[in-house]
């Protein structure tokens, strides 16, 4: 802004009047002031506006995001939890139902553990490791000659103890897949054990307890372990001095597993080994 002093001199008849008028126009002062003020205002306004805008935006965005995230999280968590809970609930329900059915069947089939007659009870291939799952020991104490209890079944394991308290025959007849007899308890008064292991060609593990009172044939089971054979020999009834001879038929392969001393345990109790 420039300043120009104009001096007007008016000449009048009376006196000379000096009028000094200062005139301001859009000169350098105005421009400079405007420019500086604009720049400063712009810069200040920009910084202030930027900070304000950022803060406002952050707060608003944060609030909205938080709120929406919380809502979505709740929804997702509910859905996943509901699905997982439903699946777990179904599995628990299935297990409970299965247990109830298992108990209902076997309690009835084995008369709550009181059943003592099992002729043909597990006869034929329907009975396998899945279907055969008894709840109670199997006690055979029938007045009749119990026969074919497990004949032709495809079980590999007897699972429970089996107690023989009466005359039996062909109990495990042609149980080709039978590998393990967990525990077979003999009553010493039983003298007829005809063909109970006939064709049990896979039989490997046999735990005998009690007293074996009659001839027994294990020659169809050449895979028997040494301990299984000794388990049987240990249970042989002692007939020494009675004049009675019974025969334990083992077959050549099983006989070869025994020492002479072990064989003598049987022969000294009045048992002939074949």
């Amino acid at each position: 802004m420039t300043e120009r002093e104009i001096t007007l001199i008016q000449e009048s008849s009376q006196e000379q009047e000096l009028v000094i008028t200062r005139e301001y126009n859009g000169g350098n002062g105005y421009d400079a002031g405007y420019s500086d003020g604009y720049d400063t205002g712009y810069n200040n306004g920009y910084e202030t506006g930027q900070e304000t805008g950022y803060n406002n935006g952050y707060q608003q965005g944060h609030g909205i995001g938080y709120s929406e995230g919380k809502t979505q999280g709740y929804s997702d968590g509910y859905n996943v939890g509901h699905t997982d809970g439903e699946s777990a609930g179904i599995e628990i329900g299935k297990t409970a139902g299965k247990d109830e059915q298992y108990n209902e069947f076997w309690d009835s089939f084995q008369e709550n553990g009181e059943r003592t007659s099992y002729p043909y009870a597990f006869y034929q291939a329907f009975w396998n490791d899945t279907t055969y799952n008894p709840k109670y020991p199997i006690v055979i104490q029938s007045n009749n000659n119990t026969t074919n209890t497990f004949a032709y079944s495809t079980i590999t394991d007897t699972k429970v103890e089996i107690v023989i308290k009466s005359q039996v025959q062909q109990i495990f007849y042609r149980c080709y897949d039978l590998v393990t007899i967990r525990k077979l308890i003999f009553d010493g008064t039983v003298t007829s054990l005809s063909n109970i292991f006939r064709d049990c060609e896979s039989l490997t593990n046999l735990t005998a307890e009690g007293t074996i009172g009659g001839s027994l044939d294990l020659s169809y089971s050449p895979l028997l372990t040494h301990d299984s054979i000794m388990s049987v020999i240990t249970c042989l009834k002692d007939y020494a001095g009675s004049g009675t001879t019974y025969t334990l038929t083992l077959g050549a392969k099983n006989l070869a597993k025994l020492t002479d001393t072990e064989k003598a345990i049987a022969t000294q109790k009045g048992w002939t080994l074949a």
């Binding site: 001839s215 009675s242 001879t245 025969t247 049987a266 109790k269 009045g270 002939t272 080994l273």
Partner: protein, 56 residues
């Protein structure tokens, strides 16, 4: 100390023969203390019966 002498009597069939007492058939027999050699005799292998039990 206890000393015990245990007799183990073993019967072995001749070639082509099988030992039997009328009920049991085998190539070798270890006699029980109440059994006797006289209870056992040899038969031809071909005469050993195929004693399939009667299926009830």
């Amino acid at each position: 100390m206890k000393k015990q002498t245990i007799e183990l009597v073993k019967l072995t069939s001749s070639e082509g023969k099988t030992l039997t007492n009328g009920e049991t058939y085998s190539k070798e027999i270890y006699l029980g203390c109440n059994d006797s050699v006289s209870n056992w005799y040899e038969i031809n292998d071909s005469d050993v019966p195929n004693d399939e039990p009667t299926e009830n």
